[in-house]
């Protein structure tokens, strides 16, 4: 069971009901649950979308697209049914925030889905959880059943004639790639989770060919809170063009790892040294992967940056999924880079050749370097391979593999060169046995 953590610097919006038994529908209602959706029914779609636009909420899955704008792209008239799709396929290494939301506040996801449905004129929503989250799926399924039992879902919800909304929960079965929106739709249609070409975008042609809004679970869970407090009020909590708060998962070499809710724009340095309690054992900070494993690494002297989409972009990295992974001085970047590409090589779905071949060749090259068979030109080869994956695939998995790889070899080139020369930094974490198992992985 995830350990609940808190820190005085937290600004609590999304975590408001966490640790209070809000998976129970009555408790959820006692804590203002299902009030936002009832108000949304009264106010209508334009009001919802305007409130969302005013809130400055940007997608919490990683891309940071403004949610209100995304919803406004869905055509009002459509021959095909429209759908709301909640992406709870949380798989980005370093990220465990949706885990906490499904566990502590599943009704906020349900209520957010209903509000998104009202905004775009959909009558059906799907909540997709990764297959590994079976115990959370049971919690969400119970929450959905309880909402049906109270008449909050189904026909004429909350007793409103003609207002219908259905929610179906869905489980994946192990695939990082399915976290990509079009691959998730393929999976939900009972197919292999390979990405679709865009355009058309999901807002026009999505699930079952109908206009679809797909949002990350945290984005959706934020919606009822925004409607309750007002878009402008929510926006004020964050930084410029980055409304509100978000859940940051601080992990790796810190004293107090955990999922913390911090305002957008909060200092990365403070997140590590104050909220996270500093580097474990008083050791020196070496580097930070700031938003899940696909985000370019930051060196220890690059952490004076605000945690929002724009500031992180300016710093040459990404806010991503908010998973802050802290590396202390004992970590070998060569090893860390290898472990990172090993993941992407394993998860590449094989649909696009640059990603399928590129991840494999980078992994092979870095494995050779790691096993003392490297040459200096291998570093250039890794960089060349990564550069040639960028922007050349249907979905962002190719980029997600290339971006961190490029940052590792560019920012820590000296460490790679020294490693090849036999001067190895850090303490190995992957064992001999593991390299063999890894080769067959």
């Amino acid at each position: 069971m995830p350990r609940y953590v808190s820190h005085p610097d937290e600004v609590i919006v999304l975590k408001r009901r966490h640790g209070k038994g809000a998976a129970d529908i009555d408790k959820y209602m006692e804590l203002d649950g299902y009030k936002a959706v009832q108000n949304a029914i009264e106010q209508g779609p334009d009001w919802i979308i305007n409130t969302m636009k005013a809130s400055g909420l940007r997608g919490r899955g990683g891309a940071g697209f403004p949610t209100g704008m995304k919803w406004s792209f869905v055509p009002k008239q459509s021959a095909k049914p429209k759908y709301v799709l909640v992406n709870g396929d949380e798989s980005e290494p370093g990220t465990c925030k949706d885990h906490v939301i499904f566990l502590e506040d599943p009704h906020s996801v349900i209520e957010g889905t209903m509000i998104a449905g009202l905004a775009i004129g959909a009558k059906m929503g799907f909540i997709y959880l990764r297959g590994e989250y079976r115990y959370l799926l049971k919690i969400v399924e119970k929450a959905v059943a309880d909402a049906y039992a109270k008449g909050f879902l189904g026909k004429n919800i909350f007793g409103k004639e003609g207002v219908d909304f259905d929610i179906v929960t869905q489980t994946g079965a192990g695939a990082y790639e399915v976290g990509e929106e079009s691959a998730l739709m393929e999976s939900l249609e009972g197919k292999r989770g390979v990405p679709r070409i865009k355009p058309p975008f999901p807002a026009v042609v999505g699930l079952y060919g109908g206009p679809t809004v797909i949002n990350n679970a945290e984005t959706i869970a934020s919606v009822p809170h925004i409607l309750l407090m007002g878009g402008e009020e929510y926006a004020k909590l964050g930084s410029e063009r980055n409304g509100g708060t978000r859940l940051f998962g601080i992990s790796g070499h810190v004293e107090r790892p955990g999922v913390y809710e911090l305002p957008m724009g909060y200092s990365l340095r403070k997140a590590i040294f104050e909220v996270g309690g500093g580097v474990k054992g008083g050791r020196q900070l070496k580097a930070v992967v700031p938003g899940g494993s696909s985000c370019p690494v930051l060196k220890a002297d690059e952490i004076d940056v605000g945690l929002d989409f724009d500031q992180m972009g300016k710093a040459g990295t990404m806010l991503g999924s908010g998973g802050i992974v802290v590396l202390d001085e004992t970590v070998s970047i060569v090893e860390f880079a290898l472990r990172t590409i090993k993941f992407y090589q394993h998860e590449s779905c094989g649909w696009c050749i640059p990603c399928r071949e590129g991840t494999d060749w980078i992994k092979k090259t870095l494995t050779r370097v790691y096993n003392d068979g490297g040459q200096k030109k291998d570093i250039d080869n890794v960089q060349y391979l990564a550069e040639n994956m960028m922007g050349r695939t249907f979905c962002p998995l190719g980029d997600a593999a290339a971006m961190p790889t490029l940052a590792f070899v560019k920012k820590f080139r000296k460490e790679f060169e020294d490693y090849i020369d036999g001067k190895k930094a850090g303490t190995p974490l992957m064992t001999e046995e593991q390299e063999l198992a890894g080769a067959a992985h």
């Binding site: 370093g94 465990c96 197919k191 989770g193 079952y208």
Partner: protein, 169 residues
């Protein structure tokens, strides 16, 4: 739906499948969950399960196999009664995930994707399971075990060996 007169599944699972196919605009959407629930019951996705699911969804068995081979949790051979899945991705690696994996290998006497001779345990090195802030972590079947140490792992495995761990269903 094509009629399934002789289901290989338990009444509860068969009833779940009957309901699942009605939930979606297209019944094929039930395929991935059905494969996983079939595996939960049988221990793997058997040939008979593939055939029955194909029949239930009006698909060719090839369609089912194509999807089955894509998802890493689905398998066509039995695993142990308790499938131990140790995460070694970045946050877990930094927390000693490889030590946990090696400890499990020594303790169980098996390697990645192998099963103990008595069929009780199987072991897998897996990618990120979404427990990064409570690393290192592993799952035994669907149950999460977090903030692991080798000693803690010993206790957990002993619980399962004694039949006190939760069953997959």
């Amino acid at each position: 739906m094509a009629a399934v007169t002789n289901t290989i599944f338990s009444p509860a699972t068969a009833a779940r499948f009957d309901r699942l196919v009605t939930l979606y605009p297209l019944k094929r959407s039930a395929l991935v969950p059905m494969l996983l629930y079939a595996q939960d019951e049988i221990g793997y996705v058997s040939e008979a399960a593939i055939q029955e699911i194909a029949t239930r969804l009006d698909l060719f068995d090839l369609d089912v196999r194509s999807v089955l081979s894509y998802y890493s949790m689905l398998r066509t051979k039995p695993a142990g009664k308790y499938n131990v899945q140790v995460c070694t991705n970045i946050s877990c690696m930094l927390g000693g995930g490889y030590d946990i994996l090696d400890h499990c290998k020594r303790k169980l006497g098996i390697g990645h994707k192998q099963v103990t001779p008595d069929g009780q345990f199987s072991l897998e090195e897996v990618e990120c399971i979404g427990a990064c802030c409570w690393a290192p972590a592993m799952q035994v079947n669907y149950d999460f075990h977090e903030e692991l140490t080798p000693e803690k792992v010993d206790g957990i495995l002993a619980e399962y060996a004694a039949g006190r761990g939760k069953d997959v269903k």
